[in-house]
Amino acid sequence: MAAGRLQGSARRLGWLAGLILPLALALGWEMAVALKWADGRLLPTPSRIYATLAGLAASGELLDHVLATLQRVGLGFVFGVAAGTVLGAVSGYWTAVRRLIDPTLQALRNIPSIAWVPMFILWFGIFETSKIILIAVGVFFPIYLALSGAILGVDRKLVEVGRIFGFSHREMITRILLPATLPAYVIALRSGLGLGWMFVVAAEFMGAEQGLGFLLVDGQQTGRPAVILASIVSFACLGKLTDWLLAAVSVRFLRWQDSFKPAE
């Protein structure tokens, strides 16, 4: 009985285990500086970072930066996902289309996306458009690759059921191929989102008046490491939060999966 209750609460609180490591590190550093074992000037203590964050939050600045960055990531993600989904589905389904576009896309994929920055600035200007396109490009490739590959791996036996019922191409894609590839798709969405967060920093490095990436540059130029770290911590928290949201939403759609569940 007691063991059962213990096990139940262990499962409920299981996610807290992930906090042990960062908290221990933060506490260790705080103590090291407090005991004068280390110098906290170039690597400010967690309490300093927290104070900086609190200051930024109080003045409303932090929220502005966060919203600006979130908006860029959000828009870039939506466009990247849309393009990756359509092209991935089409090239997975039609061999002719795959032969036509896949080699080109595979070649483009190997260009470090940062290399596009000068071109995008020339084409789309230095403001929002070029930033969002850069992020969308980063998000696009994992989605495209995962989806077109996963469609080729769908069980022929399920596809034949669709054929027996006279499915049109569209029905085949939306009713069988996309649902069957959903688990792979969700993983691709999450890695695409991760790349979106990476690319927003690059985008905001190329000149922005607002955003967490701007905060990074600003902290460096004004010699305030606490500001740089405050921005990094915000990136980590937001990245984790959005990934968690995506995972939480997708669980709903993957309840049907009959997959391996590791022991507690």
Partner: protein, 256 residues
């Protein structure tokens, strides 16, 4: 009228699965196909369903060649092949997706209760037993009331009692719409209960050994001496079919 004329099927790996097969099935006829494992029964159903094309020869339904799947031909595969991401009722609704939602719901509920799965409507396929999944697949094929129904060992995973239930259900259904049915089975008794005609196939390469139409009155009684007589004859025939892969003159098919 379903006409299978001189059909050969050679798979890309060179294996000759069917060697010149002729078969005509009248509208509303129930035809059973029996034969050992690997003699080409599933291959034949795939050709009739339009999923595969014959290497030579032709299959046509009412005079039009079957070159691809058609709405009036339904199929129950040897495996359940349920969509794992759809609940059981949505899986069954697959076959009647063009109907208005209200009628669809009603027909799905009806079909599920006929196969004894009404209480499992909202379950996921992974939550079903093998026999339940097979029954769900049967409901999915029946719910659209196809004109031709191809059944590949639809009851193989069921216990004897459920199997008899579903055989009766299939006959009820047949009495209602009179679809043409081709039923592949390993169970001679099942073939004798259901079919107007029974085709025994033999392997290497797949072909028809013998075709019989037992003149048994319906409904058929599994314990009737005449029924049992046919059962033994067919068992012997199956035995010869699988033991003499090249055909055997000492056991002419005409013995029946």
């Amino acid at each position: 009228m379903l006409r299978i004329a001189n059909v050969r099927k050679r798979y890309p790996n060179g294996l000759l699965a069917l060697a010149g097969l002729d078969l005509t099935v009248a509208p509303g006829e129930i035809l059973a196909i029996v034969g050992g494992s690997g003699c080409g029964k599933s291959t034949l159903l795939r050709l009739v369903s339009g999923l595969d094309r014959p290497t030579a020869g032709s299959v046509d339904l009412d005079g039009t060649p079957i070159v691809g799947p058609r709405a009036e031909i339904g199929m129950v595969f040897q495996e359940p092949r349920l969509m794992p991401w759809l609940t059981i009722d949505d899986n069954v609704a697959f076959g009647i997706r063009h109907l208005p939602a209200g009628e669809r719901r009603q027909r799905v509920a009806e079909a599920l209760s006929r196969v004894g799965l009404a209480s499992h409507a909202g379950h996921w396929p992974r939550e079903l037993s093998g026999g339940q999944a097979q029954r769900a697949a049967l409901a999915r094929a029946l719910v659209g009331r196809p004109q031709v129904l191809l059944l590949d060992e639809p009851f193989s995973a069921l216990d004897a009692l459920t199997r008899q239930d579903l055989q009766d259900h299939l006959l009820d259904l047949w009495a209602y719409d009179r679809p043409t049915m081709i039923l592949v089975t390993h169970d001679i008794e099942e073939a004798l209960v259901l079919a107007d005609r029974i085709v025994v196939m033999q392997p290497d390469p797949g072909r028809i050994r013998v075709s019989v139409s037992p003149p048994l009155a319906r409904p058929r009684d599994r314990l009737d001496p005449e029924f049992l007589d046919w059962k033994y004859k067919l068992l012997a025939e199956l035995d010869h079919a699988s033991r003499k892969p090249t055909g055997d003159e000492t056991f002419p098919a005409a013995a029946i």
